[in-house]
Symmetry: C2
Subunit: 337 residues, 2 copies
Amino acid sequence: MAATMNDVAQRAGVSVKTVSNVVNGYPHIRETTRARVLAAIEELDYQLNVAARNLRTGRTGIIALAVPELSLPYFAELADSVIQAADAQGLTVLIEQTGSRRERELEVLSGARRHLTDGLLFSPLALGDGDEQLLDVDFPMVLLGERLFPDTVDHVTMQNVEGARAATEHLLGLGRRRVAVVGVHPGEVVGSAGLRLTGYRQALEAAGVPWDESLLGEAGLWHRSTGASAMAHLLDSGAAPDAVFAMNDAMALGVLHELQVRGIRVPDDVAVIGFDAVDEGEYSNPSLTTVDPGREQIAETAVRLLVEQIADKRGTHRPRRVYADFRILERRSTLPA
Amino acid sequence: MAATMNDVAQRAGVSVKTVSNVVNGYPHIRETTRARVLAAIEELDYQLNVAARNLRTGRTGIIALAVPELSLPYFAELADSVIQAADAQGLTVLIEQTGSRRERELEVLSGARRHLTDGLLFSPLALGDGDEQLLDVDFPMVLLGERLFPDTVDHVTMQNVEGARAATEHLLGLGRRRVAVVGVHPGEVVGSAGLRLTGYRQALEAAGVPWDESLLGEAGLWHRSTGASAMAHLLDSGAAPDAVFAMNDAMALGVLHELQVRGIRVPDDVAVIGFDAVDEGEYSNPSLTTVDPGREQIAETAVRLLVEQIADKRGTHRPRRVYADFRILERRSTLPA
DNA sequence: GGGACGGTCTACAACGATGTAGCCTGTGGC
DNA sequence: GCCACAGGCTACATCGTTGTAGACCGTCCC
C-alpha cells in the first residue's frame, strides 16, 4: 500500500496539514519541522496522490493536445515541442487524435475530458466556417496552427499567407514561370489551404505572372500519397510546370517521389518547395527546400497562453492572436541552376 | 459551475447513489427511475467528475506511453497505433518522452505519475544490462519493442534476430556479397542493435559469406543524420559495400541521402534495406525496402496485456513475452538488376 | 504590563464520487 | 399466515488532499 499524508504526519509527529504545507512549499514552517517531515517522506517513499489533490483543487496538471494524426510528421514534431514546453511548466500532456474527423473534433470540444485536464491546445482541421460558436467553450483553450476563427479565443498561428508568398517568390526568383501549387481546396478561404493559395496568388501578381488554373493541384488530405497523385495529375494533364509549391512537406515529398519515378530531374527540370520544415525533408533526395513556420515558437507560445488562461480564473482575459516568425530553409530541391 | 451528482439527484428526486448506479450501468433499477435520472443528466448537462471517481476507485482510465522521441517517425506511428488501440478499450493515453536519457527513463519507472495512470507501456532505450531490478515495479507495466529483459515482466517485442536475418538474406539473395550493416553498438548484446547484428551474422554464416569488420557501421542514436555519417564513413574507409542493411528506417534514409549526394546509384551500385516500415520509406527516392516489424500488432497486444494486468488486482499473473509477426516489404531500393 | 502582531501549527470540513450496510416492498413457497 | 428472498433504493462513511478558522507562543512597542 502506498503511503498517504496521514502516514507521513504520524511518523513526523505533525498534522496532515503541515505535511501538505511542506509539500507545497508554504513558507512559514520551522526548519526543524520541515526537515522532520521531509525525512518521513523519504523513509516512507511517500508520493503525493494527484487524484486527491485534483479533487480538492480542481486542477490536474494535465493539458490536452488535440491533433489530427501523430503519424503525420508535422504533428508528431509539434507534439514533441508541446510536450517539452509543457514539461518546462510542470505540466503533462495528454494527446487526442481526431483523425481530421469532424465528429471527433466536436467530441474534443464537448469537454468530455474536461475534468481530466486543465486546458486544451486544439489544432482543428475539419471545423470551419460556421462553427464559430462551437469554439465558445467554458474551459481554457488555445487554438493552434492554421485555421482562422473570429477573435473570441486565443490563437497561435503561422504566417500562412506571407509564408506561402515567400515560398512562391523563391521559385519565381529562380526564373521559373510555370509554378504549380499542390494542396488546393477549391472554394476554401479561411483554412490553411485558402490562405496559402492567397499567398501564392499575391506572389504571382506581384511578379506579373499570369494566373493559370491548370497549375492548381487539388489534394484534400495533405499526405504524401495525395501529393504524389496531385503531381501525377498535373503532369498527365500537360500543365508542364517548371516548379511546384506544395502546401506542406508531406505532399512535397510525394511530389518529389512522383517526379523521381518519372525520371524528371529536381531541381533542373522542376524545382520544389514545401511548407512545415519537418525533419524528413532534410534527408530526402534531393533535400527539400521549405518554409519553416516556427513550430517551436508556436508550441511555446501556445503553452504559455494556455497557462495564463488557466491562472486567470476570472475569465477576464481578452483573446489574443500570435503569429510565429517564419523563414525559408533553402536546400537542394530549389538549387539555382 | 458544473453540475454534480448531487444536483442530478435532487432534480430527479433520488439519492446520489442511485444516480451513480445509473451512470455505471448497475442493472437493478426501475426503468422509470432510470429514465428520470437520465433526463436530469441531460437537462443539467451533467458530466462525471473523473477526479472524484479516481480518488474513490483508484482507477483513472489513463495509461502512460513512454517513448524516446515522438519526432522519430517510428515512435510517432507507434504512438498513433497505441492511442487507437487504447481508445478501443476506452482508455486515454498520456505520452512521456524520455529523450533516450537514462535519468528520464528512471523517472518514468519511479512512478511519479503512478496516481495519474493505471499502467505504463514502456519502450526503454537507455536502460540495459544490470537494470533488471529497476523494472520490478509495483504497478502494471508492459515493455515494448526491442530490448530484452528477464522474464519478470510482460514484454511485447519484435523479432529482431529473425527480421534482421531475413533482411540480410534478402540482400544476399540479390547476389550482393559485400553487405554493410549500419547502426552497430559495439559490445552490446541484449539491445536491438546487438540482436539485429546477430541476425545479420547468422545470415552471412548460412550463406558462407565471410565476416568483415570493415563493413560494420557504428551509430549510437538511430537517426537520419547518424545513418548518413555512418555511410559516409564506410565509403571513405574504402570498405566498398554493394549493399547496406540499416538497423532502422531513419538511418536507412540517411544512408540513401548520403549515397545520392555522392552520385552512387541505388539499388544499382548499392542496395539498401531498412527496418521498421515507417510511412516515410514508401515515398523516399528510391522507395525503401524494409522489415515490417508488426507495429500495429505490437500496439494492440501491448494494450491488451496491460488491460489484463490492470484487471488482475491480485498480481497473480505470470509474465508473458509476445513476438509480433514480421515480413519484408520489398520496394525499389533493392530492386533486382 | 497589556495589546497587537506575525510565525507556526492544528482541527475540521469539504471536494464529488463509490462501497457497504441495510431498509422497505412485493412475490412465492410451504 | 409466515418466512425467505430478491429487487430497488437510501444513508453514511470514505478515498487523500487542501482551504478556513483559529489556537498558541513569543516579540515588540507604548
